[in-house]
Each structure stands twice: as C-alpha cells, then as structure tokens.
Symmetry: C2
C-alpha cells in the first residue's frame, strides 16, 4: 500500500513558543496560553458558524519532527513505549492533534487559548469539538495511569526534534 | 504557503460498511460495530503498550471524498454551514478522526469497536485516547446544540461522496 496522500496547509498556527524546548506537552499544560490560526484567505468562508463552538479540534503538521522511532521514551515515563501508545510528535505520519478553546474570529484570524503548539506550525484541519462525539467513558489508560497527572507540569525538551 | 505535505498510510481499516450510504455518521451511532486495523508489518513494533488503553483516536484518509465545498448542508441540519464548523468528510485536507474502543491486538491486527468508517479506508495514525488530554468542559456547540441528539439514528447518504 505505498500510495501517497498529499496535503497542503490551510493556514499557519501562531503561538508564543518559538522553539520546541520548554513547551507544554499537551493543551492541559498550556492553560491560558493564547495563539492564533491564520487561515489562508481562500478558505475563510469555511469558518462560518464556527464561532458558536467553545472548543475545536485542530490537526496540524509536526513540521519540525524528522523521522520517527517505533519505540520512544515519552516525556511522561522513563521506559520505552510503543510509539502508537504515545502522543510523541515523531511519527510515520507526523500529524498533531490539539483541542483548544475558541475565543473569537475576525476575518481570517481565529483567536485560540490553551495552545501547546510551536509558532509557525502548518495547520491541516479544524473540526468542531462536540462532547457527544468526542467524550468517552474510558476504562484504562495503560502506562499513562501512573503518569498522566504530571502532564500539566511537564515541559518538552529536544528529544522529539 | 503552497508547500506540500506527503503522507503514506500505515495500514488499512476494515469494517462491515462496504459503501458510504447507510453508514453511521459518528462512532456514537456505531455502538457495537466491529472492525479491524490491518497495520503494515513494518510498523508492528509501534503497537507495543497500546493494548493497555481502552480507547484510541484513529486518523485516516477520507479516500472516497472528492473535492470540497466551504459551505455544506450537514447530515444533522437543513441549513448550509461553514465547512470547518462540521465534521463533513469533503474537506481541503480530507482527514477523518474517530474515537474507537480497542478490543485486542494480535500481531498486526488491531480489533476495534464502534466503527463508523468505510471498509478499505487508509489509516494514517493511531493515538491513545486519554481523558486528561481529550475531555473538555464545553460551553457551547453552536448549530449542533439542537441537533447532536440525532446523531445515533442518523445515517450517511451519497452527498459527501
């Protein structure tokens, strides 16, 4: 199955993080941090009705990640874990996913909050966040069960560049 | 920003839905529906530790969608809505996102439940679903507020092919 899928950014994500090092590793560790989505003008009419939602899912390209390893030592653990059991950015298809707060929309600029993304990141998609679709009653969170409470303090370093 | 981003599937999603028509429109409308992820053998070691999680996020290519419109009439409404305020599959970058239940993993086959995806869909990524990262207290869900309760009955039709 070596077919290629080609995407083009719909815009650029702006944030206070100019470098990966020191960044929060999830939006829950980036409470109150503001940023913007600068949407390519040709897509602006697709933003209609989005301002009714308090949160959205954004998908983006981890453009600073080079290559990947199938086993990684995550920020939240000291043991190597299978890549797909982690949210590490170095992946075969380096697609990032964050759930952010929507503050407001002016023309092609979407103001957002709880941003854990490096400045200049190419934006791929925006979807409305809907609890009926996106909340699940979860029974287990694997190796994260003893570690996920650390997420709000933990900061990124150079390992996933 | 016309840079191109090239992805390759990491596997294929199998489900009972051989065609778009009649499919559930979200995993919440596909309760109990089983499917599998057939992962390319070269990525199998990345699945380690994933079986500790009860749910995962899968990202995939809406490979049957051709083109896009920036305003669409969603399955759940009769008014045209801005594309990025909907989960419609015809998007500038047609990336699908579903949260599914993980049943078990044998070698390169991941058995999943609550599948709202058409058979043969190219898989792009798997991420563990973690309430600490993925649950948000939502204040508003825009135009969906009067419609999201219909999601479990509503079925897809040909409009997004």
């Amino acid at each position: 199955m070596p077919q290629k899928i080609i995407f083009e950014p719909i815009g650029t994500i702006h944030s206070p993080y100019k470098d990966i090092e020191g960044m929060p590793i999830q939006p829950t560790g980036a409470k109150g941090v503001k940023g913007t989505l600068e949407i390519d003008h040709k897509y602006v009419s697709g933003l209609k009705d989005l301002d009714g939602f308090s949160h959205m899912i954004i998908l983006y390209h981890f453009h600073l990640s080079e290559g990947y390893s199938l086993e990684v030592e995550p920020f939240l653990d000291k043991k190597k874990r299978g890549l797909f059991s982690t949210r590490a950015p170095k992946r075969p298809n380096p697609i990032g996913l964050s759930i952010v707060k929507l503050l407001n929309i002016h023309d092609n600029i979407v103001e957002i909050e709880d941003v854990d993304i490096v400045d200049g990141t190419p934006l791929l998609d925006i979807k409305p966040y809907v609890p009926d679709f996106d909340h699940r009653d979860v029974k287990s969170i694997g190796w994260l069960s003893s570690n996920s409470n650390k997420v709000s303090e933990k900061r990124s370093d150079e390992r996933f560049k």
